[in-house]
């Protein structure tokens, strides 16, 4: 039963990921007083791409072709770490957040290689910029998680969520606020959202993530897009699970689970709205201001770790 | 025994006055030939001293040694020096690095120093202080000559003066070393002088001077 629930959570994270993209796009459109496309459009896009032919540059090797698969595999596996409606997940108690973060890194590593394999300038440019941002963003991401882990005295995600669930919402500490902020910033950098990267840009010189996937088409592009949607969704879900898990089902039975699912939708919806607000109100940072942005996140996360150890004392 | 010792000391100390005089003169002498003569005189004094010791201590060996000193140091070596100077046809000046006045003061200082040294080290050795001081002063003078004079011949002479001092020290402290050893030492001194003579010729032949302070090709 629990296994089925875990598989359900996992499928939810994967299958609803394009929907999350669609909702954010819709929210942004509304904020910008546009009508916007349907929230289901990402599904249509993916379906359409799956039907198209796969164009491969002449210089590309098998690395180029394998990259979308590895990326999708890594992201989908990472999604198995994140609890959604109850305090555990498929791999949440076996693996820890380091594994989660490094699975994301695995995907990113291959995506960058795939970009370099295209043999044109934009792939290299995108990979180079991504390399800078992601190498810097890894530290605040891990440190933020470490702060929470120290408070929870658990390194596995299930344990961390379980600990938070037992806490009173109103007794939340400064560590949580700092960690949440730094993690949020790191998530923005990791998933390539504003103000670090503009996911909807079509101006080559400002592209990072888009630059990397420029040479992909057809099913490969579909997998890449889907994988990045999963990544965003999983990270949002992780933020929720770590900092606002309240409402998750305490035990496996139908009614609490349904409530938990609804509560989850509300919470993730709120986060998406927040994301949309940020994306509509903030300009993209210049490339060389990004390290400063990540630096702030790193400082906050380090502070969070220090506070966490002080709190534990 | 004590009486004999005191008597020997008196005899020996009276000689040491003459030795100090030769030291002073050696320091201020400007010509090599003068120095050689002074060395000869000095050796004669020492030879006399050897005989005195031999007489007082009734040591037959001492007479042999005295005769050797006389023959080698008073006669043979000065003669060889004069021959050498003739053959080398070199400038006769000493060419010291110090002026005569300075040298004189240094010589006086060295005599004082040797008295001080004998005073400090010679306490336990019950020998006449004057004679031992003279020996030490001779060693110091020899060293001074070798350091201050630029002529190869003067370095040889300085070495001989040092050797005189060591010999005298042995004489006044222990009435001389065993005869075989003394003869061996004399032989070494002679051979050393011979070799230095050979080298003096070679220096003159290859460098066309005898100024050892200008032998500075090899350094560092």
């Amino acid at each position: 039963m629990r296994l089925a629930l875990n598989v359900f959570q996992w499928l939810l994270l994967i299958l609803a990921a394009p929907l999350a993209h669609g909702i954010i796009a819709q929210a942004k459109a509304r904020l910008q007083r546009r009508r916007g496309a349907s929230i289901w459009r990402p599904y249509a896009d993916i379906a359409k791409l799956f039907r198209k032919e796969d164009l491969v540059p002449p210089s590309a090797s098998w690395v180029f072709r394998v990259t979308p698969l590895v990326l999708f595999g890594a992201m989908a596996s990472a999604a198995a770490f994140v609890p959604v409606v109850q305090g555990s997940a498929l791999l949440a108690s076996r693996g820890d957040f380091f594994l989660f973060v490094y699975l994301l890194a695995l995907g990113r590593f291959f995506l960058s290689l795939g970009a370099m394999d295209g043999g044109c300038a934009f792939g290299g440019m995108g990979a180079s910029r991504e390399a800078l941002i992601s190498s810097l963003a890894e530290a605040p991401l891990l440190l933020g998680l470490v702060a929470v882990a120290i408070l929870a005295s658990h390194a596995d995600i299930a344990g961390m969520v379980g600990w938070t669930l037992q806490q009173n919402f109103f007794k939340i500490s400064a560590v949580h606020i700092l960690a949440f902020l730094s993690l949020g910033m790191a998530v923005l950098a990791e998933t390539g959202r504003m103000p670090v990267d503009n996911p909807t840009t079509h101006l080559e010189l400002t592209m990072i993530h888009e630059g990397m996937v420029l040479e992909y088409s057809g099913p490969s592009l579909a997998l890449v897009e889907w994988a990045s949607a999963i990544k965003l969704h999983a990270m949002l879900a992780l933020l929720i699970a770590l900092f606002a898990p309240w409402g998750m089902a305490p035990h496996v039975s139908a009614a609490p689970l349904l409530v938990a699912l609804l509560v989850y939708f509300v919470k993730v919806g709120a986060l998406m709205a927040l994301l949309a607000v940020i994306e509509s109100s903030v300009a993209k940072l210049r490339m060389y201001l990004v390290p400063g942005f990540i630096g702030v996140a790193s400082a906050m996360s380090a502070l969070a770790v220090i506070f966490a150890t002080l709190v534990k004392r | 025994m004590g009486l004999v010792e005191i008597a020997a000391g008196k005899v020996l100390s009276s000689f040491s006055a003459f030795l100090f005089l030769t030291i002073l003169l050696l320091a201020v002498a400007r010509r090599i030939s003068t120095c050689v003569l002074l060395f000869s005189l000095q050796s004669a004094i020492i030879a006399a001293e050897v005989f005195a010791v031999g007489f007082q201590e009734r040591l037959a060996e001492a007479y042999v040694v005295g005769a050797l000193v006389f023959l080698i140091k008073v006669v043979a070596i000065p003669y060889a020096f004069f021959r050498l100077m003739e053959r080398l046809k070199t400038v006769r000046e000493v060419k010291a690095a110090t002026t005569p006045t300075q040298s004189a003061f240094i010589a006086v200082a060295m005599i004082f120093l040797s008295y001080a040294a004998v005073h400090s080290y010679g306490q336990s050795v019950h020998v006449p202080a004057d004679a031992l001081a003279a020996a030490v002063a001779l060693i110091l003078t020899g060293a001074f000559l070798m350091v201050s004079c630029r002529k190869a011949l003067m370095q040889m002479l300085g070495l001989l003066v040092m050797e005189n001092g060591i010999f005298l020290a042995a004489l006044v402290t222990t009435f001389g070393m065993p005869l075989v050893i003394e003869i061996g030492v004399f032989f070494d001194v002679l051979m050393g002088l011979l070799l230095m003579g050979i080298f003096a010729f070679r220096i003159r032949d290859t460098f066309e001077h005898l100024d050892v302070s200008r032998l500075r090709r090899l350094r560092g």
Partner: protein
Amino acid sequence: MQLESGELPLSFLLLMLGAAVPMVLVGSRAKGARLLAAGMLIAACLAGSFVAALGFWRTSSVLMDFTGFTPFPFTLEIDRLSALFLLLICVVAVPVAVFAVPYFEHHCPERRRNWMWIFFSWFLLSMIVVVTASTGFAFLAGWELMTLLSAGLILIEGDSAERRHNVFIYLLMMHVGAAMVVASFFLFLPYSHGLDFASIRAGSAVLPPAIRTLIFLLAFVGFGTKAGIIPLHLWLPRAHPIAPSPVSAIMSGIMLKTAVYGFVRFAFDFLAGGPSWSGYPILVAGAVSGLLGVLYAIGEHDLKRLLAYHSVENIGIIYLGLGTSLIFLACHAPLWAALALVAALLHTFNHGLFKSLLFLGSGAISHATHTVDLEELGGLQRRMPVTGLTFLIACCSIVGLPLFNGFVSEWLTFRSFLAGAALMGTKAQVVLPLMVGVLALIGGLAAACFIKVFGVAFLGRPRSTEAEHAIEAPLAMRGGMTFLAAACLLIGILPGVLLKPLVALAQGLVPGAGVPPETLAITRVLPWIAVAVIGIAGAAALAAALGRVRRIVPAWGCGLPTLTSRMQYTSTAFSKPIRFVFSAVYRPDRKIVRLPADQPYFPVSISYSSVRTTSYEKSLYRPFANLFVAAANQLRRLQTGNIQVYLLYIFLTLISLLIFLRFRG
């Protein structure tokens, strides 16, 4: 020589290593003789792996005693720690030797090939002596020989002023380091009966604290010089690139590890943790080496220099683990000390595997293209598929991606940092968790660097005609690389193979330690992750491949007719953003020259150069060396050539001695 039961394999190994030599000497110019020598060497290494495996998994202690023969006690003994390193040496040496057979034939001048093999086998033997020695004499003899023979191998390879200078720096630094190692051994002497390890262990119990501290610091700096921690790394990026690739592989993959072995032997086995603060300098050295090492690596475009800097980085990671372990030891937390030690030792082993694989890959590249300059490479994946795949596996391993072996050790290191948070009320409680950030930064930058390396060298279009006409390496080379790559994957997915005996080893070195649960956790979870990632990727492949057409079309060229290789990002361009952000580390001296100068907007050529100006040699070592040379010149001046002055020296010596005697004697 005393023979005991059970050491037959070891004697076999030693004999084989020695026996390779006369074969080559006698065999003159014939290739067969060299093949025979290589074969014997490989057989010896296989036998050695067997002995080591027995020692490592079963702890069958093996002893060889030459004491009756040699002037000082010379015994070899394999305990678990030795067995681990012996295993590393033999396991890495086999594929490297296989790789070296065609490599030496192609790259060494005819008359030097035999010497190459002779030195190569002696070099391996010296390292085996180092890790199995159980007396100070044997250890130090092996230690010095190791340096000497590796320098010989570098010098045989070729001759140029730069090479000589680099070998000079290598030799000198190694000697100074060895002097400290010598001192740290001998400092035990007044308190132990001899220099055999058992007496040293016994003697260390009665060491006064000051001597204990001194030994620890000397061992730290002495072994650190060999390991290449910053700022003692000066020789490392100089010596590795100029060695033949198989030798670089051994030097970087194994030789550096002997320093780790020595340090672990001293800090854990002999000193049982050293002074209470001992972990912190190690931790700082590890962090500094890791960060700066990877940053310097990113700035390089000579592949072998880049890899050499990555050795610095990885040694940094190993030292982070060792430092953490020492901190835990000082805080009386044996379980976590064991965890951190396991992490460090596993990373040592892993680094041996993937770094030698990387250097072999660079050898295959230079074999195919005659260059290791990244700017001249590109598109090799299509031309050298096996080299490319194995190199990619090595890249993933060194970056620490899950499913590859580097991840396991880095993960264990992360977890030991995290465990530090539970050390209530100590400095470590704050410091260790923060190290997570440092290691994360190191890992992120390493990933950036290897995206650059693999992307520029193997992917995209070739940047030179040599790269365009590259052909795959010969079978032996491919075989060697494949073996190592398989080992990386095996440990990456099933780390339990090594972890179990490693935990036992750590328990031996850290008294009172249990089995760290983390080691069990990672063993359990990784196969699942592998199944998940590969399964999902496979499913996605099926889904994407169903009835779809794949068509090869030129990439869009912004309207230009074709894309050329000059339009690709170069290695320098790729690393530009990171170098820009960390310009404080590089202090680059950038120059842009536009020609002709009077037409800035219509240049015929633009050349850009960016040189790192931070130089340890200039700012740290030069002044030191100059000091000695200045002192020597002063002394030289005292030797004036004037005999009167010489005599004066003698007189003054005598007089000062007399004065000394008068007043003090």
